[in-house]
């Protein structure tokens, strides 16, 4: 593939950029032109005909959330290995089954550790 072909391909990037900018801008402008404009106080509340919001929007989350979130990130991503393993288990046979079970056992050890360290308790 020559260098010319390589640079010609940038036309797609340009096209995407143009479309990506033009579509939302065009749609919003069109909407602004055709829609009626009639603001009044009730309409401007956050949830029209809903419950009045109370308190500050910027609340500090409890620190337990962060730790549980970290746990979640790790255990959630490990399923990346379990899905292909489960799909291909028939071909992998006993060796594959054992390998997967060892992996899950190590994960379980990690869970037991966080249990013992009282990460899972909500107080």
């Amino acid at each position: 593939m020559g260098l010319g072909v390589y640079f010609d391909n940038y036309i797609f990037v340009l096209l995407f950029m143009f479309l990506g900018v033009a579509l939302p801008v065009g749609a919003l402008t069109f909407g602004r032109l055709v829609r009626p404009n009639n603001p009044y106080p009730t309409k401007l509340t956050t949830y029209e005909s809903g419950i009045e919001p109370t308190g500050d929007a910027q609340v500090r989350y409890h620190v337990a959330y962060y730790i549980v979130a970290l746990e979640f990130v790790i255990f959630d991503v490990e399923t990346v290995f379990l899905y292909p393993w489960a799909v291909a288990l028939g071909e992998l046979g006993w060796v594959g089954l054992n390998a997967g079970l060892i992996f899950i056992a190590i994960l379980g050890l990690g869970l037991a550790y966080s249990w013992k360290k009282k990460v899972l308790e909500w107080n």
């Binding site: 970290l70 790790i74 991503v77």
Partner: protein, 102 residues
């Protein structure tokens, strides 16, 4: 079919955006997010090569799975250290962390 150079240039752009973020942003969470961006640029590269590369095979996708999971572990450790740092200093602004220099 979309040529592979497009995917590669997207990955290169993402990598550069991530590197720029690591070098310039002051908010540590965004710095960590930028590192993730760089790793995802690599993932795009690998997946592109493994599906329409000159020697396409499944290895690239397997590599990507490993990168995703290891990167998650890395960022979890990073965030845990970030929380410890915040508890010590009440700030996660890069500029304010200047105890260690020269």
């Amino acid at each position: 079919m979309v040529p592979i150079t497009l995917y590669l240039s997207l990955a290169a752009i993402l990598f550069c955006v991530g590197l720029y973020g690591v070098l310039t942003r002051r908010h540590l969470v965004i710095v960590l997010a930028s590192v993730e961006l760089m790793l995802n640029a690599v993932n795009i590269n690998l997946v592109a090569f493994s599906s329409i590369g000159p020697y396409a095979d499944i290895t690239g996708q397997v590599f990507t799975l490993f990168i995703i999971s290891v990167a998650a572990a890395e960022v979890a450790v990073g965030l845990a250290i970030l929380i410890a740092l915040y508890r010590n200093r009440e700030s996660i602004d890069v500029i304010k962390h200047d105890l260690l220099r020269w």
